[in-house]
Amino acid sequence: MACFVQGITAYISGLVTDIHNTKDTAIWYKIQVVVKDVFWHVDRRYSDFEALHRKLVETQGIPRDNVVLPPKKLIGNKDPEFVEQRRAQLDIYLTNVLQLLGRNPPDDLAQFFNLHEYEIMFMLKKLAVDIFEKGDQILCSGTPFILSPYQIFAINERMKMAVPFLDSTDKRNDFTHIVDFCTNLKQLQIVGSNIPLGRSTIIPNQYDVDLSPFKSLEEISFKMANFNKIAAIGVGRETVHRISVQNSHLESTNELLLCDTVYKSFRDAGPSHVWPNLRSLHLSNNVIKSVEDIGKLAPKLRFFDLSFNQLHTVYNLTSLPELEHVSYSGNVLSFIGCDMNVLLGNVTVLNMSQNQIENLNVFSKLYSLTVLNLSCNVINDVDEVAHLSDLPCLEVLILTGNPVASTVDYRVRALAFFNERANDISLDNEKASLSEVDQISILQAIEQARRTTLINQPRLAF
């Protein structure tokens, strides 16, 4: 954790020239700022040191005699020997300044070291001002507020620290504004990262995150989060109605919904861990292999998005009586053992795109279905569509990206299976055109005739 209370040290770790590729020959000093177990780099020029020194002398009254900035030199200031000498002098300057002001760094010094980006206290001061000014607007707008795990960690740590919130200059940066905002925030988005923050050694996903300051959450979304580090997600059990988790290597729904418990199965956890108001659960782009206990943990679920995971089978979701929308898009489903209605019950919208599905017989009894997306599978035979012909509510069928979609007369032949409902079906986002309608009726007439002959033939044979 980086908090100045633990002491700051800084030294010049190198020289950089032309950092902006502008053929500028100025020399930048690469400063390494160290706070306990983390460090980061900032690049500063001699003129930045000069400006800092001027401000510190003005506002902090630092003694000119003790803390001396190496003098200016107009000619020959790129001479390697001179540069090295200056580097050493600036190094001493930094040490002296920090000795004097490091325990309670003024804003000018904090800015010079980029403390606002990496150090907890200054980071939170900046956040407090932002929230004081825009917090109510954010709460009104209903758009999610984005925080990184490191920021939430900072909030958690700050609450435990025995350091007063106020600095004497500005009440806007009072930490209370942040906690107030968190208490009332309804939509939170946590965006994690496994790569270091800016130019520091701080890796946001390595920090523990406790969600207990967020007492009014209705929607939580996690992106690239690390669930091993997230505690007290259950603070939202009563109020949350939408959760989304993306790119977070989530392996099961229990890992999410029971993430604040020692137990990872409902049998051990019990009814106090139910999410009574959870309506939609979006878990795309994870590595989900199991949705065990979902019916018990989220009995009111309506929208369930499992797209882009590693599911081989369709789970039995009939324990979710209110389920309407299901997406299994982008998994590795190929053979589905039994009828889908046994597994999915009453769903109205089903997305099975981007799998390995070849046969449609298993869909034949999903009588509530209005939308079925089967795009980008391996359906070869247009006769498979016959299995869908008895779905009385079907309005939208998507088969693009299957081999069958490029066969001769595909649209007409597919739609013809729906008999008198053919005109009501939107196939691949298009209803039958006038000419298609004609062709369909011809096809249907031929089929009718063929059937009649088939029925009549045996009779003739007598």
């Binding site: 000014e133 758009t143 620290m161 600095d167 806007r172 107030d180 009332n184």
Partner: protein
């Protein structure tokens, strides 16, 4: 719907202090949620609550820090006193020890807040009159001697809870009105809302309203 909760012109900061188990968190919960929390866990460090109230026609947002009563959190909770406009000191009328400790809490409050901080003494659990261990008169005398406002209240029934929080706010507001409390002073614990401009908030809301819930699933 959303214009209501964010429509206020002042922010007052409160702290709630007192011995362990006197019902600080329950009083806060009763005040913010209007509900009694029966099995309230011990507070770890600090808790927080907020509510918007109305005093003399002015909407005021209360930011309330609820501190842990346990001795081991004393160092942490002390850092929350600074910049509080109101301090509620709570004792339990059925436990004399919590009353005996009041002077220590009062010393802390006086030392760590500013001279204008309104200090309000609350004797909690007034519903348990049968088990009373501290009389009303005794506590009232203590309050008067120390210049504190005083009520007996019950977090369970809600009696006098609202009144205590509102009285405190009223007194703070009076100090602002008569000029004894300087809004701009760093430690006053009182702030003007950033853009106390209702029209601006409204228009930005309308702007949001124009692209109707394009984000929702």
């Amino acid at each position: 719907m959303s214009s209501g909760p964010y429509n206020y012109s002042y922010i007052f900061k409160y702290i709630i202090i007192g011995d362990m188990g006197v019902g600080k968190s329950c009083l806060l919960h009763q005040f913010t949620e209007k509900k009694f929390m029966a099995d309230c866990p011990h507070t770890i460090g600090v808790e927080f609550g907020t509510r918007i109230i109305e005093v003399s026609g002015q909407k005021i947002k209360l930011q309330i820090w609820d501190t842990a009563g346990q001795e081991r959190f004393r160092a942490v909770t002390r850092s929350y006193y600074r910049g509080a406009a109101g301090a509620l000191i709570i004792y339990d009328i059925t436990r004399r020890s919590t009353y005996n400790h009041l002077s220590s809490w009062l010393t802390d409050a006086r030392n760590l807040t500013n001279p204008n901080t309104v200090i309000f003494l609350i004797g909690n659990k007034s519903d348990l009159d049968a088990q009373r261990d501290v009389t009303y008169d005794e506590a009232k005398k203590f309050a008067d001697e120390n210049g504190l406002k005083f009520v007996e209240a019950s977090a369970k029934t809600g009696e006098n809870v609202e009144e205590a929080f509102l009285e405190t706010a009223k007194k703070i507001y009076e100090s602002i009105q008569d000029g004894s409390l300087d809004l701009n002073a760093a430690e006053s614990g009182v702030q003007k809302k950033p853009t106390a401009n209702g029209a601006r908030t409204l228009s930005s809301e309308n702007a949001e309203g124009r692209n109707p819930s394009s984000c929702s699933c």
